[in-house]
């Protein structure tokens, strides 16, 4: 009986957290869609998330794209379909690997930064000070981060996809796939539908990263240790959440597009 009660209490707490996060997410979206906007903060966040993450995204995408190309080229060569390397690279990079890889890299960097910053602000009463001076923290702190990521994440994804595909082309040379043949494959499958699939996901990833990171930061308790724990949880939840969101988005998009 006690075990059942414990499980019930645990389940209730989980549901309460889910409810809180959902309400917070709605509040974040409302803040991001309706004025007033803090333009300076938005530009700062775009700069921080886009320029700050650019090198690491480019490097990761290039390396991951080349690793993927090695695997694909080897298998395609066995099947006598080396010329399809460009095709497979576009499908796997633009539709699947690119957005997820970029999302996870940005989530690791941004969610840690956001949670640590907001958690520190909360523990040092800076959030209360903002409210006391008549500022809505959702508008000033959370919405700019959401808007910043909405702009930065798709741009970074395109950049990552591009480098991933280019990297694949160079690997293809080692397997006697000419650049022309590779380019033809890429051009044929770089369709608006494939691009759309790759571009829709980052929008949802941005919502996920901002919601989790800001919620964790704004609810952090227990001083420096509490902020540390919240930051770790934020990175883990965001990263795993991106994989789950990717799965859900892929299922929905495939259903909508009738693939």
């Amino acid at each position: 009986m006690e075990a059942l009660t414990a499980v019930g209490n645990r389940l209730r707490r989980v549901l309460e957290v889910v409810q809180d996060v959902t309400l917070f997410c709605v509040s974040v979206l409302r803040s991001a869609f309706f004025p007033p906007y803090y333009k300076h903060e938005i530009l700062e966040q775009i700069h921080f998330s886009m320029i700050g993450s650019m090198f690491i995204v480019m490097f990761s995408a290039l390396v991951a794209g080349q690793a993927l190309a090695i695997q694909l080229a080897r298998e395609l060569a066995k099947q006598g379909a080396k010329s399809e390397l460009g095709h497979f690279m576009v499908i796997s990079s633009v539709r699947a690997l690119g957005p997820v890889l970029t999302g996870i890299v940005v989530a690791s960097r941004m969610s840690a930064g956001i949670t640590a910053e907001l958690g520190t602000m909360k523990s040092s009463n800076q959030i209360d000070a903002l409210i006391a001076f008549g500022t809505d923290p959702m508008k000033r702190l959370v919405a700019p981060r959401m808007i910043g990521l909405w702009i930065a994440l798709p741009v970074l994804t395109i950049l990552g996809d591009t480098l991933s595909v280019i990297g694949g082309g160079f690997i293809g040379l080692g397997y006697h796939v000419t650049l022309q043949s590779y380019y033809n494959g890429v051009a044929r499958y770089l369709t608006p539908a494939n691009l759309l699939v790759g571009m829709i996901k980052p929008i949802f990833f941005a919502i996920l990263i901002t919601t989790v990171a800001c919620w964790k930061g704004l609810t952090a308790e227990g001083g420096a240790k509490g902020v540390g724990v919240a930051t770790t949880e934020s990175v883990v939840i965001s990263s795993v959440g991106i994989l789950v969101t990717d799965f859900i988005c892929t299922k929905l998009i495939f259903r909508v597009l009738g693939w």
């Binding site: 209360d128 903002l130 001076f133």
Partner: protein, 262 residues
């Protein structure tokens, strides 16, 4: 339950000190007054308006009539001193010239060099940070009510003295109504027109500093004992330690004429 049956009035232009040991609910009172937290029951009247019943938009306006100095200052650490002081002016879309002038004016008012405006908060001493926090609270639409949450905690005696002098000056020279939360008895005696003592969320004393000094309540006796011992020790020494001078109870400051609204 954090607070129970807490009730007091603050007359315009006076300073009410909420005194009590750590964990007695002092800071909670300030948070309730700012509308940061909602009480389970009861009313909080600010200029006759019950802030427990007002919508968020109205609460935001009411907050603008109050300035708060948080524990440790709570300066925005990503902003310079100038940006902190001019924060509300920037929010209210004042021109750069107006903000510059206000930053200079309020930094001077709290006894700081306006040249500090480009420094970051963590480059300042604790005492300077508190004074910047007071300047920020004053610059916030020149509020009639100032709330101080442990403004001298963690400061050396000289810095603490400067802060309490400033609080007294703002009340006497500028007519600011103030509520100060502290556990420092010397500060309470120096600053408060009236003092409320809290013990575990319950008011155990309400009155002037003289009345507090004569109170016979066992909790108050115990609470004041270290303070009285320090005074006695200081008085018995032939060469009084200059650092102990601030412990001597100051006579209560002259009271403004009654008639102000709570």
């Amino acid at each position: 339950m954090i607070l129970l049956n807490v009730s007091f009035r603050v007359t315009r232009g006076q300073t009410r000190v909420i005194l009590g040991p750590s964990g007695s609910g002092k800071s909670t009172i300030l948070r309730l007054l700012m509308g940061l937290w909602q009480p389970d029951s009861g009313n909080i009247l600010v200029n006759g308006e019950d802030i427990t019943q007002v919508p968020p938009e109205r609460m935001r306006e009411i907050r603008r009539s109050m300035g708060i100095v948080f524990q440790q200052g709570a300066l925005f650490d990503s902003m310079t001193v100038g940006e902190n002081v001019g924060y509300t002016l920037l929010e209210d879309r004042h021109s750069e010239e107006e903000i510059e002038a206000a930053v200079e004016k309020y930094l001077r008012m709290v006894g700081l060099d306006p040249g500090l405006r480009d420094r970051m908060p963590d480059e300042l001493s604790g005492g300077m940070q508190r004074r910047v926090a007071i300047a920020r609270a004053l610059a916030a639409r020149n509020p009639g009510i100032l709330l101080y949450d442990e403004p001298t905690t963690g400061l050396d005696p000289q810095s603490a003295e400067r802060i309490t002098d400033l609080i007294v000056h703002l009340r006497d020279a500028m007519g600011k109504t103030s509520i100060m939360v502290t556990h420092d008895i010397a500060d309470a005696f120096k600053v408060g027109n009236r003092i409320t003592v809290l013990d575990r969320g319950v008011v155990v004393f309400e009155g002037t500093s003289e009345e507090l000094n004569e109170a016979k309540d066992p909790f108050i006796e115990e609470f004041l004992a270290p303070f009285r011992k320090a005074i006695a020790a200081a008085n018995t020494r032939e060469d009084c330690d200059p650092g102990m001078e601030r412990l001597a109870p100051a006579p209560p400051p002259p009271r403004p004429q009654p008639g102000g609204s709570p």
